[in-house]
Amino acid sequence: MIPIIEYSLAILAGVVLWLWGRFRPEQIAPLGDLVDRMMHHRNTRLAVVVVWWWLGWHFFTV
């Protein structure tokens, strides 16, 4: 039960942060801007796409 509460709180924090960025961009940058900055370098793009693909593999084929 405790992990479910922890996951829920982390997801809730993510949603709050996402909304905060949408409505108060002068305080918190919108998520899209952060992703753009993060994915500017090939280093990060390659790493992120491997992790993303692994998540799909892990969930759909196991």
């Binding site: 993510g14 305080q27 940058a29 753009d36 500017h40």
Partner: protein, 184 residues
């Protein structure tokens, strides 16, 4: 170590973690991921560096529909799912592997704060997941200490859940790669 991809130590640690827990396929994926990062770092990849590829919305939408259709009608973990995921891997790498161009968007205080907050949430989530995994193994009870996979499994057993989850997963990938965003 000059110019090393900062993600490489993370990948190698994850690779070792999967080796130690006996998850050979996961270890293989992170091993292959580490190899890609090393090849790129040492500029030893056999491919030339293209400019940024573009895909139109229709192509991506049709691909998503076909993929969702395959997962809807196949058994979870069946050969169709494996072929589909293996086919998506080179497409994803090809969409990622291009020359960096233009200056990096500036790092403002707001951006630094935002990045710090998102990284904090990601680390908290990862630590919660790791401890759930450890406690579940120590107490042999993954119902009281479920990892995210244990929670999501019942949804993925349903054909509808699997298809919806696939579309969400692909949309996250498209969002991160900025395939549909207008180039600035």
């Amino acid at each position: 170590m000059s110019g090393m991809n900062p993600w490489l130590p993370v990948f190698l640690t994850t690779f070792l973690f999967h080796v130690l827990r006996g998850a050979s396929l996961d270890a293989l994926i992170f091993g292959a991921g580490s190899a890609i990062l090393i090849l790129d770092w040492k500029k030893a990849s056999p491919w030339h560096m293209p400019s940024r590829p573009s895909l139109n919305k229709w192509t991506v939408s049709v691909l998503m529909l076909v993929a969702a259709f395959v997962l809807f009608f196949s058994k979870r973990g069946g050969w169709q799912d494996i072929v589909l995921l293996l086919a998506l891997a080179p497409i994803a790498i090809a969409l990622t592997y291009y020359r960096d161009h233009g200056p990096k968007p500036s790092a403002t205080k707001v951006m630094a704060r935002t990045r710090g907050l998102w990284v904090t949430i990601a680390i908290i989530m990862a630590v919660c997941e790791l401890f759930a995994y450890i406690w579940a193994n120590v107490f042999k009870d993954d119902q009281s200490f479920p990892t995210i996979s244990v929670l999501v499994n019942p949804i993925l057993e349903s054909a509808y859940g699997r298809s919806i989850f696939l579309v969400l997963w692909m949309l996250i990938g498209i969002g991160m790669l900025g395939i549909w965003r207008k180039k600035k």
